[in-house]
Amino acid sequence: MRRLVKKLRLDKADWIFFLVVMVICVLGLLNLYSATYDLSISKYFRNQILWMSAGLFISFILSLMNYHLILRTGYFWYGFTVFLLILVLFAGKSAGGSQRWISFGFFYLQPSELAKIAIVIGLAKYFHSNHQKREMGLIDLIIPMVILVIPCVLILKQPDLGTALVVFFTGCMMIWFVGIQRKILVVLMLIGLVSIPLAWKFVLKPYQKDRVISFIQPEKYADSKGYQVIQSKIAVGSGRVVGKGYLKGSQSKLQFLPKQHTDFVFSNYGEEFGFVGSFVLLMLYLTLGLMGLGIAVTSKDVFGIMLAFGLTATILIQTLINLGMELGLLPVVGMTLPFFSYGGTSLITSFLALGILMNLSMHRLIHAGHKA
């Protein structure tokens, strides 16, 4: 038994990191039970447990294999995801004005969720195989940007602004993390600032503009577009210091909260557990992020570093945007809270990331140990 554990390098795994994720998952399950209490409790809760088990199984498998398998097949996964993103535009199932899902009969796949992982793999592979300089110049940026922009544009087409943003930010963070000439960084940031009004004019759909406007003045749109944010703020704020108590949040029980089990899942949590509970959850996510970054800097090669960094970034960017939106700090975009929101694809994606991160954590120390 011990030999098996050693062989599988389970002893080298970062179990604390895993534990943090598991605590978040358990809190998420408890919260989901509460948030969907009035609806058909069995359906959501059971599905979520099912998906979590599947996710755990997948991440277990992923953590056991050598991550260089991913390195070798990196462009394949990237290409396959791009293929799915194109496919979804033609054969996808539409809901709520956007086309995001491909039906597999028993399971709806959301390729944009996979793209969050695929972009990380694609860029990590590229930087691992091609990059030599410490700081990239303008020409060096061309290929990474192409790798990044293709899926982003496809996702925007669906349209799914939230996911496109997460993918784009993750890619940008990775490019920045590899190293970029300072002057180019400054110029790019300026271009980014200038392009905001252009994006407003040409890229954003009317309903997306509405969301931004209603974010800036939610009270003005209290009945329509600002409704979600106001109800979410009411829910969280009314939790006060220790919350209204488990299963006692009136905002979601009486269904004032929209999307209380998916995008606005934290509102229910904040209402029932108050500042104390929210603080604990936020600290768990922060720990997750810092430990993820820790895995990155201790990985043994550029691929490992970039992979760990990218995956950590994608999870934490989602977390920050989702929480910022639920607390009324950011405009409303469709975005789930990793490991916490209800939803199969989102959960499986998060567990894919977890599996790869666990894998990386198991392999880094061996390398370091050899050296030492």
Partner: protein, 612 residues
């Protein structure tokens, strides 16, 4: 340590530090935001979340009762039963639900649909009153079939009911629903007490004593989800104080000076007629009767008046909404003759023993004014002139007085101004004089007009209540009283507080001898043969005195035969009056036959009751 392509891990150290810093910063912002929402502003958001889920249901206060002077109940609050429906709970479409309930209670389906349409797409989760005021049978059917009538139930609503619906309607007044306009215009205090759609008094006693009768509505918190579905309240912690349940406080009971038996008698006597009966105690100013017919039925207004009924009332040429006791103005005709009589005596322009010859007409310059009796009354003194209602005698007295003195005495006795009764919108009538004619018609006063006013015609206009007040002042020795209807208000301990207080508008020094001559004339009218009301108003039970009047109705369409208005103002007992009654019957022809019997009945009933 070397990594692929010549990179070392150290190359990433600074980027790692910066990204860790960014991450910590991001979470710091979120924590500060949580602090702001949950700790600094938690109370505010909590109250918002309470407002979200709690709806305050109004529990209407039970309106105070109204009693008459003998503590007989006139108006009370009785349970009325409303059929309420929650469409989603019926499990049926709107149409099917309406079909189902209308067949159960044998209700016209079209009417059911009409009632439903009034609500303009009610929330299918909220309950609303589909049918107000169910009959006992309907209540019984619904209760017996409750298990089969999901989504329907009965709500008990305290509703104003009047014990004698046929009488006292103008006096008691109407209730009305508070509409958007009224709600906007009401004071801040009233905003605390009323909601749009609540009922309050809009006329009569109900309006005047609204603040006493109303009481304080209670509230009951109802837990609702976002769709308006009612939830169990128990599961949800403590409520903020503003949402606490508050019991309703009933309104206080009122005691009126009215004698409801006399009131009923008056309404019966006026049935089918147009007119008014006002009776008051000349000693105190207590109103005993104030009845006007034709009338509306106050009970049709207690839950919101039917549009058709309202339209009928408004367009009825007989004007049933009009309170003839105080709002209608008539020429007082011969009932006014007491004014030139007392004025002439007090001004000493006529001697009590002086006789005037009545040939049946009176000549003033080139104008000839007729006496109602063409053959003439021969020689009459003041007492006889009153007894026979001789016009010529009063033409002469009026001529001697002149319009200014005549108008002065008319006003002294309260004509031309409001009596000051507190609950009604009064008409103040009109006492004409030279100044008035100049102002209104830009013409000088003509002598003949003085004579017309002297016999209660011309431009002179009075209300029946003014006549009752005038005769009261005459028989109580010269005190103009403010007529009142409020005897008292029930106190919190159950007794009666704020008792009746006599209010004098004016007391004038009158020569009591002069008064006695006028009163003797009035006594003869009824008690001596030849008096104009002797045949119709003389009572074996109690000595009555009074004066008839027959007001000429000016017809706009000449040639149309319109009967004159009949007046009688009387009192009893003639030597020590306790009750003054003023009666007018529109187109009652003669004061003697048309009005005086009504007064006699009222007076006899009053003394009958007193004996018992």
């Amino acid at each position: 340590m070397k990594l692929s392509y010549g990179r070392t891990q150290d190359d990433f150290k600074s980027a790692f530090r910066i990204s860790s810093g960014l991450l910590v910063f991001g979470f710091l912002v979120l924590i500060l935001r949580l602090w702001h929402l949950q700790i600094l502003n938690g109370e505010k958001w909590l109250s918002f979340s309470e407002e979200n889920r709690i709806k305050l249901k109004v529990i209407p206060a039970v309106r105070g009762r109204i009693f008459d002077r003998n503590h007989k109940l006139i108006a009370e609050s009785k349970p009325s039963y409303d059929l309420r429906m929650i469409q989603n709970k019926t499990g049926l479409s709107v149409d099917d639900a309406l079909i189902k309930i209308s067949s159960f209670i044998h209700w016209d389906l079209e009417q059911a649909k009409k009632n439903f349409a009034k609500f303009k797409h009610p929330n299918p989760n909220r309950s609303f009153a589909l049918k107000k005021g169910l009959t006992r049978d309907e209540v019984a059917i619904i209760e017996a079939n409750q298990p089969r009538l999901d989504g329907f139930d009965i709500e008990v609503v305290p509703t104003r009911t009047y014990v004698y619906p046929g009488s006292s309607n103008h006096l008691l007044g109407r209730l009305g629903e508070i509409d958007a306009k009224a709600y906007e215009e009401m004071s801040a205090d009233d905003h605390q007490r009323y909601r749009m759609g609540s009922f309050w008094g809009v006329s009569g006693i109900e309006k005047r004593y609204e603040s006493v009768l109303k009481g304080q509505d209670g509230v009951k918190p109802i837990l609702e989800d976002v769709w308006g579905r009612e939830q169990e309240l128990s599961s949800t912690g403590n409520l903020l104080p503003v949402f606490a349940e508050k019991a309703a406080t009933s309104g206080s009971d009122l005691y009126l000076t009215i004698d409801v038996d006399l009131q009923i008698l008056a309404s019966e006597l006026l049935e089918g007629k147009k007119g008014s009966v006002v009776a008051m105690d000349p000693r105190s100013g207590e109103i005993l009767v104030m009845e006007s017919q034709p009338s509306y039925l106050s009970e049709y207004f207690t839950r919101g008046v039917d549009a058709q009924y309202w339209k009928k009332l408004v367009t009825d040429p007989d004007k049933p909404l009009y309170d003839r006791s105080v709002q209608a103005i008539y020429p007082p005709a011969s009932t006014f003759k007491v004014i030139p009589a007392i004025a002439g005596l007090l001004e000493q322009i006529v001697n009590p023993n002086e006789v005037v010859f009545c040939p049946g007409y009176y000549r003033l310059g080139r104008e000839v004014k007729k006496c109602w009796k063409r053959a003439g009354h021969g020689y009459v003194n003041l007492e006889q002139a009153i007894q026979y209602s001789c016009d010529v005698f009063f033409y002469e007295v009026s001529k001697r007085l002149g319009i200014e003195r005549l108008a002065y005495y008319a006003r002294l006795f309260g004509l031309g101004s409001k009596t000051g009764i507190d609950f009604a919108r009064e008409n103040k009538g009109l006492v004409p004089d030279e100044e008035w004619k100049k102002r209104v018609y830009h013409q000088p006063w003509v002598g003949g007009e003085t004579l017309s006013v002297g016999i209660g015609q011309g431009a002179l206009l009075v209300t029946p209540l003014q006549m009752a007040v005038l005769y009261s002042a005459l028989v109580n020795g010269g005190t103009l009283l403010v007529p009142q209807v409020l005897m008292g208000v029930q106190s919190s301990s159950g007794g009666i507080e704020r008792g009746f207080e006599r209010k004098e508008k004016e007391v004038f020094e009158l020569n009591q001898d002069s008064l006695l001559h006028v009163e003797e004339g009035l006594r003869r009218v009824v008690q001596q043969s030849g008096g104009t009301a002797h045949y119709y108003a003389n009572s074996k039970m109690v000595p009555i005195a009074g004066k008839t009047g027959t007001a000429q109705v000016v017809s706009l369409k000449s040639g149309l035969d319109i009967k004159d208005h009949a007046w009688f103002v009387g009192y009893a007992p003639s030597e020590d009056p306790e009750i003054v009654v003023a009666v007018i019957v529109e187109h009652g022809e003669h004061g003697s036959s048309g009005a005086s019997p009504i007064a006699r009945h009222i007076i006899e009933k009053y003394f009958q009751e007193k004996e018992q």
